[in-house]
Symmetry: C2
Subunit: 150 residues, 2 copies
DNA sequence: GGATTAATATTGCAAATGCAACAAAAATGC
DNA sequence: GCATTTTTGTTGCATTTGCAATATTAATCC
């Protein structure tokens, strides 16, 4: 059984750490870039879905989003149809920040894939998508209090 | 350019979240399992190297290790040759906890690889190892204050 | 050998993270 | 239509996380 967990953990922490350092220039504190890019790409998203996408606790997402709002990167708008939800939209400031984040992420991605052929990169993406799909089932199960048999 | 960053981030956060929930039974708080497994597998390790292995800030590692010591999972021993370093060793309690962590990690790994052939799993590991090697160069560079050109 | 630099460890702060608990609106069941 | 459950959002509290700054020993440079 190949142990891919540790590799994935190391890669994720290293890249996240790099991003957090580099995004300080944009006045974004730890983790906020994760939320902002997704809100820019899918305006109107609600925070519950965003937490699911990112795989983070609901309350963590709530506070990160609150900070983004306080610092003028995004705004929350009430929905007339459904008074329970608040839709998230980037402000002009948020939209201005987006290209910077995208460029940094693209660079990190290129660094990560260095030395791999086009074909290998495609394979990596495909395998990772499958792994992610597998893992998110368990994540939702355990998050809701489920107990895994091992 | 395939965007593997987000997939890796999602997978890592989901698995880490699952582990943190499941290891509460072992009285391990957030992240501590990462350090404990490695100390069990490489007794005598020093905390600086451990932080590098895990890809986490030195001070974060310092405090996680301090907690593990306070709760009796590991102990720090002074080195006679080099008075600068402290070597880390699991206590009997730590060693008792190790198999539980290993079993959980193995299970998560199996879940992650579900639906992949033996060959695909091997490929995934190989690609991830390469990606990790690529990424750790930049991590160390940026951690030391280096500025990446993007 | 003495001065400078690097490696290792620690502490002070400020901030993010996440569980528990709560609230309110919507969806579902009968 | 009403009771129950689910969805979505928030706040309190304890904890981890990480940057900056400091201390101490070891290693390197002339």
């Amino acid at each position: 059984m190949e142990d891919i967990l540790r590799e994935i953990g190391m890669i994720a922490r290293a890249l996240d750490s790099i991003s957090n350092i580099e995004f300080k220039e944009q006045e974004l504190t730890k983790g906020q870039y994760l939320y902002l890019v997704r809100i820019c790409e899918q305006p109107g998203l609600i925070q519950e879905k965003l937490a699911e996408m990112i795989k983070v606790d609901r309350t963590t997402a709530a506070r990160a989003i609150q900070k983004l709002e306080q610092h003028g990167f995004i705004e929350k708008r009430k929905d007339e149809r459904n008074r329970k939800i608040k839709r998230l939209f980037p402000t002009p400031k948020g939209q201005d920040t987006y290209p910077f984040i995208k460029r940094e992420n693209d660079y990190s991605n290129a660094v990560a894939l260095a030395g791999l052929s086009e074909r290998e990169a495609k394979t990596a993406l495909k395998l990772l998508q499958q792994i992610r799909a597998n893992v998110e089932v368990d994540w939702e199960f355990v998050k809701k209090g489920g107990r895994r048999p091992y």
